[in-house]
């Protein structure tokens, strides 16, 4: 029980105890550390999502994607009928999301930079590159442009991880990473 009649007291006039002040100070400093870690990573880290984005009509994005596919298709992926496209390193690379596929399949060289353009033709989709586990939200009407540097030769899956209707679980794309020439 408090010594003073409790009901008369006003909370902001109360004294602070030392142990509480200590914890509040530690917690506040930890908050600053976490805040500035995010800022710091923009200067030193290699994984930052690009801020470059444009409004775009889905048809325009589809045209650009088709132009890239027409120019750089090297083969078809197995029996899927999907084109495998191998644009030159450093170039603009397009991948579009639509119900329910990622189109086209890309073949990229390890260790080279690509400007990857992502957009949706219809609803929202989720670009989930596996097993790297890089996850980016894709919107219709917005074109996100990021610079990507593949590492590690192999096949990578692109799973859709934003719910997009009944065929959502069939929406899988692929990126082949091959050794640089």
């Amino acid at each position: 029980m408090a010594i003073h009649p409790p009901e008369k007291r006003i909370w902001w006039n109360e004294p602070l105890e030392k142990s509480e002040v200590t914890w509040i100070t530690i917690a506040f400093i930890w908050g600053l550390v976490m805040f500035f870690t995010m800022v710091f990573w923009h200067f030193t880290g290699e994984q930052n999502l690009s801020n470059e984005a444009y409004r775009i009509h889905p048809e325009t994005f589809a045209e650009r994607t088709e132009a890239m596919v027409d120019q750089y298709t090297v083969r078809e992926e197995g029996e899927t009928g999907l084109p495998v496209v191998r644009p030159p390193p450093g170039s603009d690379v397009y991948m579009l999301a639509r119900l329910w596929e990622w189109w086209p399949i890309l073949e990229l060289e390890e260790g080279k930079d690509y400007r990857l353009h992502l957009s949706s033709m219809d609803w929202q989709h989720g670009f989930s590159l596996q097993p790297e586990n890089i996850n980016i939200q894709i919107h219709p009407g917005y074109e996100l442009v990021l610079t990507l540097t593949p590492e590690g030769v192999g096949e990578y899956g692109v799973v859709c991880n934003e719910y997009c209707g009944i065929g959502h679980h069939q929406m899988v794309g692929k990126i082949h990473v091959v050794a640089a020439e």
Binding site: M1, A2, P6, E7, R9, I10, W11, W12, E14, P15, L16, S19, E20, W23, I24, W30, G31, M34, F35, M38, W41, G45, E46, Q47, N48, L49, R55, T80, L82, E101, D122, W123, Q124, G126, S128, P131, N133, I134, N135, I136, Q137, I138, H139, P140, G141, L146, T147, L148, T149, G157, V159, C160, N161, E162, Y163, I166, H168, H169, Q170, V172
Partner: protein, 574 residues
């Protein structure tokens, strides 16, 4: 708000009874409203929980229960029923309790409160009908341009308006209590926490209305286009910020239970209230947590908002993380459990489900929900986790292990005090928080494990068996999802135990008469005063709490930096 409180007529002649357990005056109109809101909340918990079980059994790869169409329907219903309807109905009950009951006051305009109740109920039922009709499997978040049936949005709008009316009644009651001088000085801490929850509720529910009304108009063809990024910014002003109603409410519930079971008082009223104030000031901007890997939003905006402005709202939670167990330790030491560092904890009333539920909620909210939330909400780390199972793993740690378990725990006090019935099936009730807690802790942990391995949330078939392009998640991911299923069943069992105890007690429990209350007091000496009046413990030496907080802090820091390490290993992107 005052005008709302006084509409109708002159102050109504409220009928009161005096509670034999607490000595508080109880407005019978408020009591009835608390009962009905709580009962409806529990009904939605039962419905939503059943859908949750179906979801868990479908995502258990070896079981894979529902077909795809039903899975997405069940997932939509699960989200709406538990995250909105169960939690908010229960919160309205808490608001009426923390205002009318704790302040010894009559409830402002019970008629408006009933209007709010019926609006909420009609809205919740309408939304459920829309979902069950099958044309609104758009998930709880209903991201445009995917479209639900118009009455899905209409149901949510009605629910939101009803909840706003209820919050207005709460504020009106505060005004009346002040006017009529039913308390002196500052309001009790639990009421203060409820005020924080209510202020946040006004902001978040309004955000919901602001985005859902145009979306409704779009669904009936009056508006041609809703921008999908704008939709998310505003929708999450409701969707995430409304989780902060839950945080404020369940922290208030933690203090309330500690007070009512142990007579615990806050270490320092100033510190605890300051922490609630941080919630009010900074939790609102959490919409950013869902926009960290979105196109068209700058990193500056993301960093400022996702961190709640330099993590000041997280600071609030870290303060409660010390002050809630600290209050318990101080009360226990006052009661004579002073040996060593942890006698107070060992000799705590672990057989009282109100206490055990509350303490499990506190620990799991901190370790599972809290830490993972901060990590998930770091701008760049979100790249590793966005829309993976990590996300539901995080929020089952906060909303289920935290909020739901805390609300379940306080039910064991609400039933005897407000429903005036004895708890039936005492053994079952004793085990319930442990079974549910273990189940939910497991769900949270294994979902986060699966998410770390990349498994997508909201996904019917992670084997991609009928996809044209093949992809295989690693075997451990399937193990994680299987374990998630097992613990999902365990949580459902814990939920069922809760429903059985509560429904049994409320309808068939022995009446708690005045004689009974005098013979077997529910609250310890000073318990009623601790919950219903102002007063600090004044800090004692608290070695146990400081040890617990130190363990928590080390775990937090390590886990935080481990995730930056994970991030540094993925493909460079800029």
């Amino acid at each position: 708000m005052a005008s709302i409180a006084h509409t109708g007529s002159l102050p109504r002649a409220a009928e009161f009874r005096t509670c034999p357990d607490t000595g508080l005056r109880v407005d019978l109109a408020a009591e009835k409203l608390i009962r009905w809101n709580a009962v409806v909340a529990v009904v939605f918990l039962a419905i939503g929980g059943l859908f949750g079980l179906l979801v868990a059994l479908t995502r258990w790869p070896a079981v894979h229960l529902l077909p795809a169409e039903w899975f997405y329907l069940a997932l939509t219903a699960h989200g709406a029923d538990v995250l909105l309807f169960w939690v908010i109905f229960f919160e309205i009950a808490i608001l009426y309790f923390a205002s009318a009951i704790l302040l010894n006051c009559r409830l402002a305009t019970p008629r408006m409160a009933w209007l709010g109740f019926w609006l909420m109920l009609a809205g919740a039922l309408l939304a459920n009908v829309a979902v069950l009709q099958g044309e609104s499997s758009v998930m709880f978040t209903s991201y445009v341009p995917m479209q639900a049936a118009p009455h899905f949005y209409l149901g949510l709008i009605l629910f939101a308006v009803g909840a706003l009316v209820a919050v207005a009644v709460f504020f009106g009651t505060l005004v009346i209590a002040k006017d009529e001088g039913t308390y002196e000085g500052s309001v009790p801490l639990v009421t203060f926490g409820a005020i924080a929850a209510a202020v946040i509720a006004v902001f978040t529910i309004t955000s919901g209305a602001i985005i859902l009304i145009p979306t409704f108009l779009w669904s009936i063809g009056l508006i041609s286009h809703i921008d999908p990024v704008m939709y998310k910014v505003v929708w999450w002003g409701m969707g995430h910020s409304s989780q902060q109603i839950n945080v404020s409410a369940h922290v208030a519930v933690w203090y309330a239970i500690a007070a009512m079971v142990l007579g615990a008082k806050p270490l320092s009223e100033k510190v605890s209230r300051f922490a609630f104030l941080m919630y009010i000031l900074f939790l609102q901007i959490a919409a950013a947590h869902h926009l960290l890997v979105e196109p068209g939003i700058s990193s500056e905006w993301k960093i400022f908002n996702t961190s709640y402005a330099l993590y000041l709202a997280v600071l609030g939670s870290l303060i409660h993380g010390l002050s809630v167990p600290g209050a318990i330790e101080a009360a226990q030491r006052r009661r004579g459990y002073t040996k060593g560092v942890f006698e107070w904890l060992r000799k705590a009333p672990w057989g009282n489900p109100a206490f055990s539920g509350m303490f499990l909620s506190l620990v799991m909210f901190g370790f599972l929900g809290g830490i993972s939330g901060v990590v998930l909400g770091s701008e760049q780390i979100n790249l590793l986790m966005h829309n993976t199972m990590y996300v539901p793993g995080h929020f089952h740690g906060t909303v289920v292990a935290g909020t739901t378990l805390a609300f379940m725990a306080i039910t064991y006090l609400v039933v005897p005090l407000i429903f005036r019935r004895e708890i039936m099936f005492k053994k079952l009730a004793q085990w319930q928080p442990y079974v549910f807690g273990l189940g939910v802790g497991g769900i949270s942990l294994f979902m986060m494990g699966a998410g770390t391995l990349g498994v997508s949330r909201r996904h019917w078939d992670i084997t991609f068996s009928d996809a044209p392009v093949a992809f295989d998640y690693p075997g451990t991911a399937f193990l994680m999802m299987g374990l998630n299923g097992v613990f999902g069943v365990l949580s459902a069992l814990g939920g069922l135990m809760y429903i059985v105890v509560v429904v049994g007690s409320v309808f068939f429990g022995e009446r708690r008469t005045e004689e009974k209350a005098k013979a077997e007091p529910l609250l310890p000496q000073g318990g009623a005063a601790a919950v219903a009046s102002y007063g600090s413990e004044g800090t004692l030496k608290l070695p146990g709490t400081i040890t617990l907080v130190a363990i928590f802090f080390v775990a937090f820091v390590l886990y935080y930096f481990v995730n930056w390490k994970f991030l540094s290993e993925v493909w460079p992107l800029s």
